[in-house]
C-alpha cells in the first residue's frame, strides 16, 4: 500500500468515486446548458438573469462548480504523478493547480451568486 499521498481524499476509492460523481454532475450541467440554449434562441439578458436568479439553478451551478474544481484537481494530480518525475516540478505544478482551482471556485461563486 502506498501511504504517503497528497491526493484529494486520502483514499484511492474516495478520489475515484468523487471523480465519477463529479463527471456525472458536469455532464448533466453541460447537457442542460446546451439544451437550454438550443430551446431559447432569442435569449436576452433579462431571461438569462432570471434563470441564474432561481435558487435551484444556483444550487445546480454551485454543484457543477465544486465538481469542476474537485474533478480538475484529482485528474491533474493523477497526470502530474504519471508524467512529471522530478519532485520540484511536480510539487510546483500541484501547488499552482491547487491555488488556481481555489481561486476559480471562489471567483465562480462570486459571479454566480452575484455577491
Amino acid at each position: 500500500m502506498v501511504t504517503t499521498i497528497t491526493n484529494f481524499g486520502r483514499s484511492g476509492l474516495y478520489d475515484w468515486l468523487l471523480q465519477r460523481i463529479s463527471a456525472v454532475v458536469l455532464a448533466l450541467y453541460s447537457v442542460f446548458m446546451v439544451v437550454y440554449l438550443l430551446l431559447n434562441p432569442q435569449l436576452d439578458y433579462a431571461q438569462w438573469d432570471a434563470l441564474f436568479g432561481m435558487t435551484s439553478m444556483r444550487i445546480f451551478s454551485l454543484m457543477a462548480l465544486l465538481s469542476l474544481g474537485a474533478h480538475c484537481w484529482i485528474g491533474l494530480w493523477s497526470v502530474s504523478t504519471d508524467y512529471i518525475k522530478p519532485f520540484v516540478f511536480r510539487f510546483v505544478f500541484q501547488m499552482v493547480i491547487g491555488v488556481l482551482m481555489f481561486v476559480y471556485t471562489v471567483w465562480g461563486v462570486q459571479l454566480l451568486w452575484g455577491l
Binding site: M1, V2, T3, I5, N7, S11, G12, L13, Y14, D15, W16, L17, S78, T81, D82, Y83
Partner: protein
Amino acid sequence: MLTVSVYRYHPELDKKPYMQDFQVDTGGKDLMVLDVLNMLKVQDSGLAYRRSCREGVCGSDGMNINGVNGLACITPLSACVKNNKLVLRPLPALPVIRDLVIDMDQFYKQYEKVKPFLLNDTPAPAIERLQSPEEREKLDGLYECILCACCSTACPSFWWNPDKFIGPSGLLQAYRFLADSRDTATEERLADLDDPFSVFRCHGIMNCVTVCPKGLNPTKAIGHIRNMLLARAT
C-alpha cells in the same frame, strides 16, 4: 526470406542498444516466433532470450513481437508478420539485462505485495479445506495466470509508476485470493489496496486484456476489486 529485426544490447560491450537485422529462411512454413529465434541462435550464438517449455505454459519467452506483447512460443508468424518483416524487442518498461532478457524484479515485487497465497486463521481441518463447485468456479479465469508479464508491461500506468501501481497481473492475483472462499483475510487485503496507486491507477484501457496470451481479463478482476472496496466503504 524473412527479415527479422532484433533488439540487441550487451551491457559489457555496447554503449547503447541497437537493432540488428537477420535473414531467415522459414521454408514457407508458418513457424512460431520461438522457432525463428532458435534459427537466429544458430546464426549468432550470442543472442540471449529466455525460453523453457515452448508451449505457452512457463511464461518465459514474453517479448514485444511487431509492437505487441506476446509469448514467442505460441505466436505463429502468420499472426504477427507484416510486409515480410518481424521486429522483436524485449518487453517494454522493465530494465534490459541483455538482448531480449529483462530484469523482472519490479514485476515480482508487485506480485509479492498482494500476498499471493491463502491466508486462513481458522484451525486447519483434518484433511483439507473443501470448496463447493460454485465457490471453485469463481477462481476460473484467475488461477490460470502464468506471470509472463505481457500484461503489466503493456500497461502505461505500470510504465509510469511500476513501484506504486500493482499492475494487471498482480491485481488479477489479488482478486484470485479475494474471491477464494478458503481465504479469511479479505478485509486486510482490501485495506492494503485502498490507496490512489495500487488499484486506482488502472484507467481501464484494457491493453492487458488485448495482450494476455492466456486470454484472461485483468480489467474485469480490477473492476471486481473496486466493487469490493466500494461495498466495504459505503
